[in-house]
Symmetry: C2
Subunit: 275 residues, 2 copies
C-alpha cells in the first residue's frame, strides 16, 4: 500500500515523538511508506517547520550515508512558563500543608501528564548536552527522573537507601542529610553505570542539598561526571546550598502553619542562562 | 496566521499524543489554527484513519454541544507481540542471573522507551474500562505504573513500606508476603484515593501474589474497587496464586544457577481474552 502525504505526516509525527533523540535513517521511512526518499524529505521539512513553529522541538538532519533525522524535544519559553505557573499554583494550595510545615506533593508527582511536561521542561534545557543517564534517589524522584529520561532517551538510575538482593553487587556511601545532619546511606547497583558517563541528577525537593551532594559523591565512586542538577521544588533556607549549579522550577519561600499559608515563588530555571 | 492542512495534521497529532483520554472540543482546534470546523473535521478523519491503519490508537468522536474528539492509545496485536518478544529476549540474557536465582531487572525498568511501550501495552487492554488510578508498591513498580497511567491519563498512587511525614495521615495494613510468609506492612496516604474509585494494580514481578493481595486489601480499606492487575513478569511456582485475574507479559519458568540458564516464556496477556 502506498501512503498519501497526509497519512505519512501523521505517522511520521507519531514515530518521532515515540523515539526522541534517536537517529532514524530516511530509508526507514521510505520503506515504511513505500515512498521515494525525495517525498520523505519533503514530509520531514513540513514536520520540522511545524515542530519549530509550535515550539514542540527540533528536527535535526544528519546528512551522508549514515544520515537521517533526529527529533529533539524542546519546549518554547512560553510553554515552559505555563508549566511552571501551573506547578506554582498547585503548590500554593492551602490544603497541601502538613504538620511540621511539610507540603503534600504525592498527587503532583503522581500526575503523569504534568510530570511528562515537567520532564520535557528539563529535557529542553539539557537537549544539547551529552547526558548518558538520569539519576535520582528512591522513591519520590522516580517519576520526574523517568519523565526527563524519556524525553532524552537515556536510562534512569535509581539510588536506594537500602540494599536489595535484586540489585546484585552494590556500591554504598554514607552522606550527611543536610537539614537534619543525620548520617545516611546510599546504595547503587554496581552495574547501573559505566565509568565516564555524564549523569543528570534530579529530585522532587531540595533544601540544603545534602542528598544531591550524596549522589554527587556516588558519581565519583563510579568515575562518572555530573552533567547537571534538576530540582522540582527548592526550599528557602539559611545556610549555603551544598551543590553549586542546579535548576529549580519553584521555590518554597515561607510556610505559616498557624495562618495556613504557603508562599511559592518561581525557581531559578529562567535565571540560570535560559533559552 | 492561518495554518495549512499539512501543518495542522502534524500539530494535531502532537497534541493528541500528549493528551490521551481527554475530550478535546473541535473549537479548541479551530481556534488554535484559525480554521473552519469543517476543515478540522476533515483533518481529524485523516488522523483517525492513519492511527487506526498503523495501530497507534483510536480517535473517538463525541457529537453534540459538549462534543469533541478523544485519543485512546491502543496498540495493534502485532506491535504488542513485538514488545513482549523484546522483553522476553532481554529477560533471558544470562548475565541477569543473581545469586539466589533472582533476576537483575533494574536496567529494563530504567529504560524509559521500553517502559513507555509496556505502559501502552497494558493501557491498550484497559482502554475501554473505567480506571481512576494505577496503584503500585514502591519502588520497582513505579516506572511501570507511571507509564500505564500516562497512556490512560489517570493518577499514580504509590503504596509505601513505611510511613513518611510528607504523606500526611495514612492508612496502614499488614499482609503476608507470599513466598517468604513474612508479615509486612503497607502504608498509603489517606488522601491519595477517594471512595468508589476503580483501581488498576501493577508491579514488576509477581510470585505467589502476596503483595498484590495486600494492595487488594488496601483497596477495601479505601472502599475502592479492583479494576485489574498488570504484572511485567510472573514467576512459575507451586502454590496457587493468591489473586484471581491478572495479566502478565512474561513468565520466569526456570532458573538454573549452576548452568546459568534462564527459561522465559510468554505471559498470559494474549490468553486472557485479548484483542
Amino acid at each position: 500500500m502506498k501512503w498519501k502525504r497526509s497519512e505519512r505526516l501523521v505517522d511520521i509525527t507519531c514515530y518521532l515523538l515515540d523515539n526522541p533523540h534517536e537517529l532514524i535513517p530516511l530509508t526507514f521511512f521510505s520503506e515504511r511508506y513505500q515512498s521515494a526518499k525525495s517525498s520523505i524529505s519533503e514530509d520531514l521539512t513540513i514536520v520540522k517547520e511545524t515542530f519549530e513553529e509550535k515550539g514542540n522541538g527540533k528536527l535535526l538532519t544528519v546528512t551522508g550515508a549514515a544520515g537521517g533525522v533526529k527529533y529533539i524535544p524542546q519546549m518554547a519559553a512560553t510553554a515552559i512558563k505555563e508549566v511552571i505557573d501551573e506547578l506554582m499554583n498547585k503548590l500554593g494550595e492551602k490544603d497541601r500543608l502538613l504538620p511540621g510545615g511539610y507540603l503534600y506533593m504525592a498527587d503532583l508527582l503522581g500526575n503523569p501528564i504534568l510530570m511528562d511536561r515537567i520532564g520535557k521542561v528539563f529535557a529542553s534545557r539539557f537537549a544539547e548536552e551529552k547526558i548518558d543517564a538520569v539519576m535520582t534517589v528512591a522513591t519520590k524522584g522516580i517519576q520526574i527522573a523517568h519523565s526527563i529520561a524519556r524525553h532524552l532517551n537515556v536510562p534512569v538510575v535509581i539510588v536506594r537507601r537500602d540494599s536489595k538482593v535484586t540489585e546484585g553487587s552494590t556500591v554504598s556511601i554514607n552522606y550527611v542529610s543536610g537539614s537534619a545532619r543525620r548520617i545516611q546511606t546510599m546504595v547503587l547497583s554496581r552495574r547501573s553505570m559505566q565509568k565516564g558517563q555524564r549523569v543528570l541528577l534530579t529530585d522532587d525537593f531540595m533544601k540544603a542539598g545534602g542528598t544531591m551532594l550524596g549522589m554527587k559523591n556516588l558519581l565519583d565512586e563510579f568515575e562518572c561526571e555530573l552533567a547537571g542538577i534538576a530540582v522540582l521544588v527548592e526550599a528557602e533556607h539559611h545556610e549555603e546550598v551544598l551543590v553549586d549549579e542546579y535548576l529549580s522550577l519553584a521555590k518554597l519561600c515561607k510556610v505559616n502553619e498557624r495562618s495556613r499559608t504557603i508562599e511559592i515563588s518561581e525557581g531559578n530555571y529562567f535565571e540560570k542562562g535560559g533559552q
